[in-house]
């Protein structure tokens, strides 16, 4: 994907203050700005802003972030790859994570 495409100038929108990622408190405006800064993929948005990197790991905002990124890039949200899935699927305490049972 060509990263030097012209997205036009960043124009603030009235609902830019709206929270999208509830866990990390990332707003729509921050996500839009990040796209204009060159963050075109969900992974990049996550790494740059922490959107979707909180306790719920993007389970709530994943689709919303996709929609916003797609709109800024003027492409279909269905063309945008979701974030990688990683263990653990739910938060696990370190003491439990370390307490493995490998045998029956």
């Amino acid at each position: 994907m060509e990263r030097s495409i012209d997205l036009g100038t960043f124009v603030p929108e009235p609902d830019d203050d709206m929270l999208i990622c509830r866990c990390e408190e990332i707003t729509k405006g921050e996500i839009r700005q990040a796209v204009h800064d060159g963050m075109f993929t969900i992974e990049e948005i996550r790494r740059w802003l922490r959107a979707g990197m909180g306790l719920c790991q993007g389970q709530t905002c994943g689709k919303l972030v996709k929609g916003i990124v797609a709109k800024e890039l003027k492409m279909s949200p269905w063309k945008i790859e979701p974030a990688t899935s990683r263990a653990p699927m739910r938060p696990v305490e370190m003491r439990i994570m370390g307490n493995e049972q490998l045998e029956g």
């Binding site: 866990c23 408190e25 306790l55 719920c56 709530t60």
Partner: protein, 112 residues
């Protein structure tokens, strides 16, 4: 449970599910206030029936949050329970004597 008072949201009798089964009442505290709920029900339900909706205040914007998904996914309802922060109250069973505290950011202390 007579002590829950007028804010109780319990559905005692339901057209499909019938009468509620009788449950063991336990006592716990929320921010020092003594409350009651049913043993084993999610902490969040006992709180709702005691009229508590705000579970935490967020770190960056200090905004109130409460139950959102009620099934342990969104983690909005986390509180400090028995001294441990980030406990998902919507899926953590209530026990006698639990100490529940509003969470500010990542702890029970209000940050300056």
């Amino acid at each position: 449970m007579e002590k829950e008072g007028k804010q109780s949201m319990r559905v005692e009798n339901h057209p499909i599910l019938g009468e509620a089964e009788s449950q063991t009442v336990v006592t716990f505290t929320c921010d020092g206030k003594v409350m009651q709920g049913y043993e084993g029900e999610p902490i969040a339900m006992a709180l709702r029936n005691a009229g508590v909706l705000v579970h935490r205040h967020t770190k960056k914007q200090d905004k109130p949050r409460g139950v959102f998904c009620a099934i342990g996914r969104c983690t909005d309802c986390v509180m400090v329970v028995d001294g441990i922060p980030n406990i998902r109250t919507c899926v953590t069973p209530l026990k006698e004597g639990m100490v529940v505290q509003t969470q500010y950011g990542h702890s029970e202390k209000k940050e300056a």
